[in-house]
Symmetry: D2
Subunit: 226 residues, 4 copies
């Protein structure tokens, strides 16, 4: 899996602080960005977080290029609707040597791995045959597996990212999307520790688990924490 | 493919007309629904359409149960973000005899069909082997194909449906999602011809094609229509 | 304030249960609604709630007609973006005898009330004068006060409503939007106690207060509850 | 009215081109941004526009600080839901010398202007009296007019901006929000002529008017253009 932070709103801490400041103070637009010290920025952003006032963090967004992930994963990923996606199309791009993701449980089991790899090769051969038989790419791809590698460019604002991390860093989340969330979070912390250091799975940010009987047991569930 | 209209806002024409009416007339909430004749409802909705005033149609929503569709299709479907989805999970539901969608181009080509069916059987066998080797379902499914059948419950409001039809009834849309759009549209017309009779691909509702050099040629492109 | 539940998805409990069921069970679309007892519906919905699995409740939506509220309130209301609105327009509807909302603090203070009422009358007179001077309605309305009464039709799905209640039933929320939230909640409980009985301000649903130093003190803040 | 482009995604043309490129070409994430010439960027973006393929332009967003606008305008503005807002609060910020917007029709009519200005002064006095009578700010503001000045920080992505311009540059749009749209568009063209030069009211981008009987007559309506 390769996760690259392609681009983002410049100086995100400062922009969030400026937006927050406008809400509560009689200050003009000109001065919004200019008159803040680093210390003031930190104070404003920390106050926002402490008050659960999340809307100003929507002003900053982050664009990732993601590759080496499966379509099993991307199908889950695009369910996050407060985000923008551009995904490599299997309708147009020919998969004459498709790559694929091997789940760790398969990787760790020699017999399973052998079965898995053999099947990937068989599917590739079948795809090629269908193309030779003049089946269009967009139909030949029906034989391609969930494991098939895909590439995606995704943009989310910080508020949507907080929610993404709450859900997808949970130990109950599927391993591949959790690995993506972890990789994204590391990139974001490099750029803005102030905004992203305190992000985490819901049990860490909220102090309790909301998975009920599905809980991993790491934190008390909502029912038991009250 | 099976497309069932599970549920919808009752009397959708009337509710849309009531919302439209409120915008332009000094009328109380009590009277909104009560004092309209069928003729008034028709007139109000037709005027809305003619003025391109789409927001009142957001108040009515429609829920479909969809089955017998492929995960290739559902991956496209869930890209429509102004909608709600509940999809059968391959993480939890065991695929001990998975069903699959055969593309028409494959169906029509005996040799391709044979290759395709054989591959589906091989994939099923591989999946079963992985389960036997104690690979968890959520990882065994990595071998399952895009063709694999899925079930989904989807809700969209009428405005989102209009947009869905503009894009997905286009002859350039992928065949399976176009078939879904057609089936949904037929169900909706039964319930509300007033709201859905005039829906269609963008070239029909707008009078020109917006696909540029990808155009099917049925209508002039935007560039050529000006 | 008048809050009328104009319309809603029929049998909302059952539809939510059907959508939830599809996710976890190998069941066909036909049987989704037909084969559930009331007891099964209750069990399914309660399990969803306990697991914090909120997406199936998006399939049901509720439409309110709201009148006797101020534009101060409606300006806050329309900030909830996962909702649909149709509002009476001051551009088109002439305000020859505009109504207005008197805040309780003004109502309770005879001197303030007198000042307030006198001002409302003066504003009405000014508006009328501007109309007489051939100022268009859409500009004459610039003198109208925040207190000015408005009417609105609003649709939200249950998930958006949960979030609305978490924020707007908070004692820190502005009194008028809190009163609206309370009135809406009462209407919803009549229709679906199963879905709406447990809704409330965030401090009740989550067990802690997220307002930080702005907290009313009713519940410990997140910081203090950990 | 003051409209400042506070911040935006760096090199927006290039990022849009990179996202578009990923969809159709077998290229890795690393190379996405690096290997494009300015000419390729232009070609890719122009092709997108010609094909009506709008999703890649969602990856770039633009943040404006807006001041010297009325709350009549901001109430319309925040109806655009695919955007993020931080607005100066009348609940917390004391309006001891509130500023206000004078509509051009009032400005141009000396008698109306006199009436209008006198009323603004009277409202200010009333607000001050209510504060003196210990009415809280959040209630005293109920007397403040729609004309009252507000400040807002707003972020939209390019796709949402296109739609904003289609609607709000229309001659039928209210003058103040049209002026805002014009000012925003000018700022955007400075930063990215490639992305924003061709934006405009719907009649210009689509070639017909969708306002039906409300049309200004500048372009044929949809009905007449077919």
């Amino acid at each position: 899996m390769k996760v690259i932070l392609l681009s983002h709103t410049p100086e995100p801490d400062k922009l969030v602080a400026a937006a927050a400041r406008l809400c509560y103070a009689p200050i003009g637009a000109d001065q919004l960005l200019e008159t803040m010290t680093k210390k003031q920025v930190n104070k404003l952003v920390e106050d926002l977080m402490a008050m659960g006032h999340e809307s100003p963090i929507e002003h900053v967004s982050f664009t990732f290029a993601i590759e080496g992930v499966s379509r099993a994963m991307s199908h889950q990923l695009v369910r996050h609707r407060l985000a923008s996606y551009s995904q490599q199309s299997q309708r147009y791009v020919k998969e004459n040597a498709f790559e694929y993701i091997i789940p760790p449980s398969v990787q760790a089991n020699p017999k399973a791995k052998e079965v898995f790899l053999r099947q990937m090769a068989a599917i590739q051969e079948c795809y090629n045959q269908l193309i030779t038989l003049e089946i269009p790419r967009e139909d030949a791809r029906y034989v391609l597996p969930n494991a098939c590698e895909t590439k995606i460019v995704m943009t989310m604002n910080a508020r949507s990212l907080y929610n993404f991390f709450q859900q997808r860093l949970c130990l109950r989340a599927q391993w591949e999307i959790r690995a993506l969330a972890e990789a994204m979070r590391l990139e974001l912390i490099k750029v803005s520790p102030l905004l992203f250091n305190k992000t985490g799975p819901k049990c860490e940010t909220e102090g309790y688990c909301s998975q009920g009987k599905m809980s991993c047991g790491r934190k008390p569930t909502r029912e038991n924490s009250r």
